[in-house]
């Protein structure tokens, strides 16, 4: 007689971990546990984003500190739909943030029992019809970053192309519906993020919100012109012009020391 309950289909997983030994141990533990099919393993953040795009796994086991893109940057670039389990050795700032943003988080070394629990949680998460929207990666980053430390680069994606913009090269950011348009190095990127969240993670000494829809890197500002009493135009060194409101113009002058 065979059991009348068909076995659950294996959970399709991508494992991203840069240290080879730790990666192998993790794969071994997943194999022992059973019920998880690892469709790809990645040794850096870039591979993790690509593999997740390519294989559309149900779960991504994601290490935080990895070359190229770290775990947070990977999370920012993921399409919704994959359940994320963070795996980290130690991250005092981030632990609280994981709780909000990921299905689960595991601390290395991971015991087999703990791993089994995480996999069970992922199954539960997948079974829920109304998948709760993942908290934005901005909230996560905000929680993970110590007070007074600003982002120094932004991970961006354009179709299948993934890029990293050093923040000092970012000229401006404008909001467009649910996205921000980022201008850097003579090209523009769209990123799924709110302008307010971006503003909160950038150094206010360099980036000024000059308009409800617009933020500028003061290093690139060449001049400011009044259009009417309440509307201003800000010129950047590459010829870009940006709108500024009256309070925005005042804030900009203040940061520029004018």
């Amino acid at each position: 007689m065979t059991s009348s309950v068909p076995p659950a289909p294996p959970l399709r997983a991508v494992v991203a971990e840069d240290e080879p030994l730790i990666r192998e141990l993790f794969l071994e533990q997943l194999a022992e546990l059973g019920g998880v099919e690892v469709v790809a393993t990645c040794k850096d953040g870039l591979e993790a984003v690509r593999a997740t795009q390519q294989h559309a796994p149900e779960v991504l086991f994601l290490d935080i500190s990895m070359p190229k893109l770290d775990g947070f940057e990977v999370l920012e670039l993921l399409e919704p739909g994959v359940s994320v389990v963070f795996v980290t050795a130690y991250d005092q700032h981030a632990v609280r943030a994981f709780e909000a943003a990921a299905v689960d988080y595991l601390l290395k070394p991971v015991s087999s029992e703990r791993l089994a629990k995480a996999v069970a949680r992922v199954r539960l998460d997948r079974a829920r019809k109304d998948v709760a929207p993942r908290p934005s990666s901005d909230e996560l980053r905000h929680g993970a970053r110590p007070e007074g430390v600003w982002l120094d680069r932004l991970a961006v994606k354009d179709g299948s192309e993934i890029g990293v913009i050093p923040v000092r090269e970012l000229r401006f950011a404008r909001s467009e519906d649910d996205y921000v348009r980022l201008g850097a190095n003579g090209r523009e990127w769209l990123k799924h993020q709110t302008l307010g969240a971006l503003e909160a993670s950038l150094d206010p000494a360099s980036f000024v919100r000059i308009h409800r829809t617009c933020m500028v890197n003061v290093a690139f500002v060449t001049r400011i012109e009044a259009e009417t009493r309440d509307r201003f135009v800000v010129f950047l060194s590459d010829g870009t012009t940006l709108p500024a409101s009256r309070p925005g113009e005042r804030r900009l002058r203040e940061v520029l020391g004018l």
Binding site: L21, S65, K68, K108, P109, D152, P166, V167
Partner: protein, 349 residues
């Protein structure tokens, strides 16, 4: 100042001469103006008084010694000084008048002993106060020196403790690697746990300030050995150590923040990793230590290491060598170099 050098050569304190010459000059002036003595005579008559006055005033130094003008004892001290200055004035007046009388010279004005008494007491009090103030100043500067050096020692101890702190990320990742090795390479797992134990024992133990460079390099090798298991072919280590520098003293764990930075920024953040070079050589009379690592700075605003390691090393060198050692951190296109220059002797000659 040649005069000061001459007086020092005469083996007498400068104060003595100043008081002596000053009181001689004043006594002579007093004699000329108050007692209408001719100047030529006054100059000679003033000699015994001046000698006595400088001796008496000089002696106030011994009275003041050990009697600092501490607030709670200030009035007692001032009282004692006031009384002794009256005595000093009396002695001066009596002796000088006696000498003048015996020599049948000098002013016969009845005011002369009184003037002698007043100026003697005044000079004595002024000298005593001067000595007291100087002593208080010396004591204060000694106390300051003391507290400065003790705060430097505290700072040094704090910084050493920070250098010795085991990075939890490193610790947990190493334990995870050991767990991974147990099935596929039991021998490797044993070696790595022994190495980790040795490293922890070294870090958790007592911290002497200085060790030989050889000892310091052993510590670095232990650490890099463990990291090599973690990062496999991503981490290559090269050493260039001159044999004759191995016995030189270096601050314990001075290289630790530097190799940790090299791993964190040069290896852990990079896909292909690279080579970490540790070198030590004699440069004139100084020891030069260098840690070189690859520099991964794709998209990074600050190309290089967290300032924390740098501050740690800089602070310790300052606390231990007070300006006789230096450190330098430089980033080229793809390499990061940390360089320490230490004196080969612990104390200044």
């Amino acid at each position: 100042m040649p005069l000061a050098r001459l007086l020092r050569w005469l083996q007498l304190p400068l104060d003595f001469w100043m008081v002596g010459i000053g009181s001689w000059f004043l006594s002579a002036t007093t004699l000329v103006t108050l007692a209408s003595q001719p100047l030529s005579l006054a100059v000679w008559l003033a000699v015994p008084g001046a000698l006595l006055l400088s001796a008496v005033c000089g002696s106030s130094r011994y009275l003041v010694r050990g009697r600092a003008l501490a607030p709670e004892r200030r009035w007692v001290t001032l009282g004692v000084l006031g009384a002794t200055s009256l005595v000093a004035g009396g002695v001066l007046s009596a002796v000088t008048s006696g000498v003048w009388l015996a020599a049948a010279q000098g002013p016969d004005s009845p005011r002369a002993p009184l003037v002698l008494f007043g100026s003697g007491a005044f000079f004595y009090l002024a000298a005593a106060l001067y000595y007291a103030a100087r002593q208080a100043e010396n004591a204060a500067s000694a106390a300051e020196q003391q507290s400065l050096s003790s705060s430097l020692r505290t700072r040094e101890a704090e910084l050493t403790a920070l250098s010795a702190k085991v990075n939890p990320h490193f610790l947990f990742n190493s334990l995870t690697s050991i767990a991974a090795l147990t099935t596929r390479d039991p021998e490797g797992a044993r070696r790595m746990s022994l190495d980790l134990a040795a490293l922890l024992r070294d870090r958790l133990g007592e911290h002497s300030e200085f060790v030989t460079l050889e000892h310091e390099l052993e510590t670095v090798r232990l650490y890099l050995g463990i990291e090599r298991v973690r990062f496999a072919e991503r981490l290559r280590v090269r050493e260039a150590i001159q044999a004759e520098v191995l016995d030189l003293p270096v601050p314990k764990l001075i290289l630790q923040p530097l190799v940790e930075n090299a791993i964190k920024h040069g290896i852990a953040g990079s896909d292909d990793g690279g080579e970490v070079l540790v070198s030590a050589e004699l440069m004139g009379t100084s020891l030069q230590l260098r840690v070189e690592s690859p520099l991964e700075r794709v998209g990074r605003e600050r190309p290089a290491p967290s300032g924390q390691g740098q501050r740690l090393v800089r602070g310790r060198l300052e606390a231990l060598y007070a300006g006789r050692a230096s450190c330098e951190f430089a980033a080229s296109d793809d390499r990061y170099v940390a360089r320490l220059i230490l004196p080969t002797e612990l104390a200044a000659p």
